[in-house]
Amino acid sequence: MSVAISDTPVRSGRRRGVWRGRIFVALLLLSMAVGFVALGTLFFDVLSKGLAYVDPVLLTNPPSSDPDIAGARPAILATLYLGILLILFTVPIGVGTAIYLEEYADRNRWYNRLLELNIQNLAAVPSIVYGILGLAFLVRGPLNLGNVVLAGGLTLGLLVLPMVIIASREALRAVPSSIREGSMALGATQWQTIWRQVLPAAIPGIATGVILALSRAIGETAPLIVIGAATVIAFNPTGLDSPFTAMPIQIFDWISRASNDINDYRPLAAAGILLLILLLLAMNSVAIWLRNRYEQKW
């Protein structure tokens, strides 16, 4: 039985469809472009306003009310301290949790499932709530550390802990079970297998995750504001128990200051932003390089 095909409706439909398809693609490209155009505008704006102020003065001087001699040295150093504290805190605990969840935990037990759900929830909590947590427990409350570097580092550490855990789990999961089984077959205990076979294989993935978490933490301002990072500090942080600031806080301070024709802090803020973005770009590049260089295809 033959089916009658009338060709005029099909042909005109196809023509209309071609234009509709093209307009659709154009809209989609526009959607993609908006984000990048905004990003580009942001970069150019910050670059044009701040480049003049990016010089050794910015790096080596303490802040001052005179924009020409103001620098961000305490903020830069404090950010470095916070970063180191963060790594010391999150890596053992995050990787330990990931190892527990991936290698030791029985997935059918309710408490392990709750643990996983808990970590997913923590990743979605707004960062300012972590600031409140730090304020209530670390700065005032039971530990009563005061608004010092240690409190800041721990708060940021708690903030990015879920990220580190999730990234480490992915890295551990990517190691094929044949490696584990082979090791066990040769008589190794579970921990020996993990420590000598699985973990070394997962380190690139874990390192990438840690660096990304670090770069997220370095850009965070809100939690540090709530736990009382000082906005005007003229001396370098002296240790774990000294008041501190951080680069995003310094930038925030410079933006919020009233600028007039005599003292204009906005270009200074732009310069600080350039520094921060440079730092973040460097870190992310290292993370991407690590991933590409050491990624193993099993």
Binding site: V34, F36, Y104, N118, V129, G131, I132, T189
Partner: protein
Amino acid sequence: MATRAESLSLAPPRKRWGEVVIKAALAACALVSVATTVGIVVALFLPAFEFFQKVSFWDYITGTEWAPLFLQQSFGVIPLIVGTISVTLWASLIAIPLGLGAAIFLSEYARPRLRATLKPALELLAGIPTVVYGYFALTWVTPHLKDTGLDVGVFNALSAGLVMGVMIIPTVASLSEDAMSAVPSDLRYGAYALGSSKLQVSTRIVVPAAVSGIVAAFVLGISRAIGETMIVLLAAGQQPNLSFDPREAVETMSAFIAATGAGDVPTGSVEYKTIFAVGATLFVMTLLVNAISIRLVRKYREVYE
């Protein structure tokens, strides 16, 4: 050669205590995350509870005047909630269509190499510190909005909302794209075989099939917008304002917490406890939004064989 049967034994080996200790240590690490959640709940709700001993909960929830630090104190939280919703609305208006559009492009139209370059580039948008976005909103977007003739104040909800929307685009796009990639290609090929155009396949086959993941992406974006602090702190202002007019300054819940936390309210005072009360409100709101997302995902999830 005969094997020495006495040396073989089927009894389990002696327990290695080192292994037990290590497992306990790792479990202790895992408990840190539990402690964090418990800590958050206690840190928010204990002082909030004390706060509600002093201030009536009904006044708090229904009051339309937020002035905790003034001489004539008033603790109605509605202006803060309205501020949060107003900015979130504008952010969603930007992030949801553009994010979905970007996701459809990446998933259906872009060649694999292009996708491999564009996807990380989009992640770059998400990696920019929010204080930088706040700076951008305050010093570039607001003046340019004024130039277009719109009568916006120095602080206004629109700038903050627009910039926040751009910041959230990668979140929405990334998750939506993951959801769309998970749709089996068989569905697409079947549609092409029946004569569909790419437009029809994308909009009538792939998107509906991935709708649960896409909705989850939208809701995640919204919940990020609700909790975001720096952009609104810098660009929307610190004036509680019961108004949905985007040209006016508003204060969101998160901006209030940051501003008050940065100031010097005496510990233990009622003003200090407002931080926790508003924090608890914010937390509950985020939880509700996430719970809605989980239910929606479960309801619309497509199961493929």
